[in-house]
């Protein structure tokens, strides 16, 4: 009996690597600490009532952001492990198998479990406030989306200590990801982690499209929508056309693995190339999904901190919407070298070059917005300004990669690695950091320390260039991606070592951000005005942090940048807009179903990963039962009475 348990445990848990044992201990200690703190301070009920069951878009947004920052830490540690392994030739730090797992995990986490949730967090925080709404269109669904993402992310992360991680690259091409190439459970963790969170992503896309189309404040016509909201709309349209492709592709891969189908196998009539084709039909739009909202954030910030209207509003909207559609026609440029012939490659090379045009248009819009503006260099603005040169270089190397014949030289080399990190860090991560700094006071009611923020900014930026510029050159020297080691005679040591230094600098930059947050919580610099940046859009017209119901009365919009125009009117001595009388506010009730249903989905995923139907089937039943329970629950809403609104508003004003 004991032997059997031992045998099971050594198969079930990942063993044999001191790094993993370290992680085991860290996880156990963290879990114990969390349980202890919650019990000691009697916070379980608070956690359940205020957070786990909430349907408030602001709280859901904060939970997304916390989860994504944890994932940023995890993905960042993976990156540093890889950079340490590559710092010297013939390093013995990570074994090749472990290295494969680390780069796979790094890619998946950074795109799907860091960039996506951070983006959704900012959607949740800002969009309803910008358009003058009380919540998103489907608050229940919003909470469900979050918990599905969270459970998917947990399932994927678990593979590190239980069962073993996926190691077939972040897009897990077959045949490597088939049973023949990856017989372990890691690949199934990958499939189910992404599938479960993918359902959530798709629902968020639908939710925000409906929110933006249907729930704008009266008077906010299409040409008065704030630019971030436009970018969210374009991103969500791309989500709903791209994510179903991912779901289907991974479902087919799962059928191959679980039921022995032959969609992508090398034998039995399968076609592994078809997987590559399909996954990039999602994968390419995905990069635009994450970068478009960043463009929206830059637009808001550049215009706010230049104290000017955004230059070329119409062209910006047109550029965003055309990118969101055109992103669907460029996918083959990720596999020019698959060899589909000159005609196919030429078509996709040209579409790729065309999509650079609207992106270039935006850069000029931001530059002209800053031109002759009164610029203030707060941290959000610093990140936005740093983004421009970084993204331009990244975009240019992207155009180089889009030249199909040249791509045969660059393909899968470190040149490519440097390119996409430059657009994803310089475009996406910088943008989300900027957005996080910008909306932080609105989320929590206090500002982040600027001095520490500037330190973090400079260290991050210097680290970025030190890390990735050498990678272009080491790529041109012939170093390919995903190699776990190299020898002295390649001559790659100097560039790799420099790159590693840059990587650690970025890590230090991240620590500065953590310090900045901790410091700002301790020496809280309260935002008493609700409008710390002298903002332009509606979210700055309400107290910070925003009250539960956001707007005491529905704002009446008359202009683009309505709040800015209102402030100008008041400064010019004109009467402010008349406030409508207070009415009871209709609000959604909290619900435990999203959390419970997501736990059931987790069980389904976990059961299917290990082929344990005795977990998967009850899990599926739980999903069905919770769906039914929600269908027959008519007690989903309530009204906030007028005197409570008055009390809340007065309390918010008293702290002013």
């Amino acid at each position: 009996m004991l032997d059997k348990i031992k045998e099971f445990a050594s198969w079930f848990f990942v063993t044999g690597d001191p790094l993993i044992y370290g992680a085991d201990i860290a996880i156990a200690l963290t879990t114990a600490a969390i349980i202890f703190v919650l019990t000691y301070f009697k916070k379980w009920k608070w956690l359940w009532r205020e957070w786990l069951t909430t349907v408030d878009h602001k709280r859901v947004g904060i939970m997304y952001i916390i989860a994504s920052l944890l994932m940023l830490f995890r993905g960042g540690v993976d990156a540093l492990l890889m950079r340490t392994q590559l710092a010297f030739p013939d390093m013995q730090f990570l074994s090749p198998e472990h290295y494969n797992q680390v780069f796979t995990t790094h890619g998946v986490i950074m795109i799907l479990f860091m960039a996506m949730p951070l983006m959704f967090g900012l959607f949740n925080i800002a969009v309803p406030l910008q358009i003058g709404a009380r919540d998103v269109a489907f608050p229940f669904l919003n909470s469900l989306s979050f918990w599905l993402f969270f459970m998917g992310a947990m399932l994927f992360n678990m593979s590190f200590v239980i069962g073993g991680s996926a190691d077939a690259g972040w897009l897990s091409y077959p045949p490597l990801s088939e049973m023949t190439g990856s017989p372990g459970v890691g690949q199934d963790f990958y499939i189910w982690g992404i599938q479960i969170s993918g359902i959530g992503s798709l629902m968020t896309g639908i939710n925000f499209i409906v929110t933006i189309v249907k729930m704008r404040a009266p008077g906010m016509t299409w040409s008065k929508i704030p630019m971030f909201t436009w970018s969210v709309l374009s991103s969500c349209i791309t989500i709903i056309i791209a994510f179903p492709v991912l779901t289907v592709t991974l479902a087919l891969l799962f059928l191959d693995r679980y039921l022995g189908a032959h969609f992508f196998t090398m034998d039995g009539g399968g076609n592994a190339m078809m997987y590559v084709n399909l996954i990039w039909m999602w994968g390419h739009p995905e990069v635009y999904i994450v970068v478009l909202p960043a463009f929206g954030i830059y637009s808001e910030i550049v215009s706010t901190f230049s104290k000017k209207r955004l230059f070329g509003y119409g062209s910006m909207v047109f550029a965003m919407m055309s990118i969101s559609l055109m992103s669907y026609f460029t996918w083959l440029h990720h596999f020019f070298t698959m060899g589909s012939g000159a005609n196919v490659n030429t078509f996709f090379a040209i579409t790729t070059m065309i999509i650079a045009i609207p992106t270039g248009v935006k850069i000029f819009n931001w530059l002209f917005t800053m031109y002759r503006g009164r610029l203030t260099f707060s941290t959000p603005m610093l990140w936005s300004i740093a983004f421009i040169p970084c993204f331009v270089v990244g975009g240019m190397t992207g155009v180089m990669l889009s030249v199909a014949p040249a791509d045969f030289q660059f393909h899968n080399s470190y040149f490519l690695i440097a390119h996409f990190h430059q657009v994803l860090i310089g475009g996406v991560a910088f943008g989300y950091f900027a957005g996080l700094y910008y909306w932080w006071p609105k989320m929590f009611g206090f500002k982040l320390n600027e001095t520490l923020g500037k330190w973090a900014f400079w260290i991050w930026n210097i680290g970025f260039y030190v890390c990735f510029m050498p990678q272009y050159f080491v790529g041109l020297d012939g170093m390919t991606r995903r190699v776990s080691t190299y020898s002295w005679d390649t001559g790659w040591w100097g560039l790799n070592f420099t790159s590693t230094i840059g990587g650690f600098l970025m890590g230090i930059g991240f620590l500065f951000q953590v310090w900045q947050i901790a410091h700002s919580i301790k020496f809280m610099e309260k935002d008493t005005t609700g409008d710390p940046w002298n903002g332009r859009t509606l979210e700055w017209s309400i107290p910070s942090p925003a009250p539960l119901y956001n707007f005491a009365t529905t704002p009446q919009v008359t202009e683009r940048d309505d709040w800015w125009e209102e402030k100008e009117r008041i400064a010019a001595g004109k009467a402010p807009k008349p406030q409508p009388v207070l009415e009871p506010i209709h609000m959604p009730k909290n619900s435990a179903i999203p959390f419970i249903q997501s736990v059931c989905w987790f069980a389904v995923g976990f059961g299917l990963v290990f082929h344990w139907l005795w977990i998967a089937i009850p899990g599926l039943l739980g999903v069905g039962i919770t769906m039914l329970a929600h269908s027959f629950n008519y007690d989903t809403d309530y009204y906030i009475p007028v005197d409570e609104i008055i009390r809340t508003e007065e309390a918010a004003r008293r702290s002013v």
Partner: protein
């Protein structure tokens, strides 16, 4: 603000209704029939080659129409033509996926 925050959706905010029970039953029956036909044709070997493919594609196209008309309520639009716009976008995407994949794979010497 009636539609704000309501999770089960208040019908006042929507243009048009959500179909009747009869409509749903007809749609359900049609989609099942359109699923069984190709299944029988292929499983029992009634048709082969091009004829079978034509039946498969034909029933798939009809299935698509049934979904749009009976479940997506394509006929019931009012106000801005969002339904039409999204339908066109959806068609562009589907055509891109299908034609694009066929074109790429047909040019691939590996297969």
């Amino acid at each position: 603000m009636a539609q704000h925050g309501s999770t089960h959706g208040s019908h006042s905010g929507h243009g048009g209704g959500h179909g009747s029970l009869k409509e749903y039953v007809i749609g359900f029956a049609l989609s099942i029939i359109l699923t069984i036909i190709p299944l029988l044709v292929v499983m029992n070997g009634w048709l082969h080659g091009t004829a079978a493919i034509i039946v498969l594609l034909g029933t798939a196209a009809l299935q698509f129409a049934v979904q749009l008309l009976f479940f997506m309520h394509l006929r019931e639009e009012k106000g801005p033509r969002y339904n039409l716009m999204t339908l066109i976008l959806g068609l562009i995407v589907v055509i891109t996926v299908v034609i694009g994949s066929l074109w790429i794979m047909a040019n691939n010497p590996m297969y």
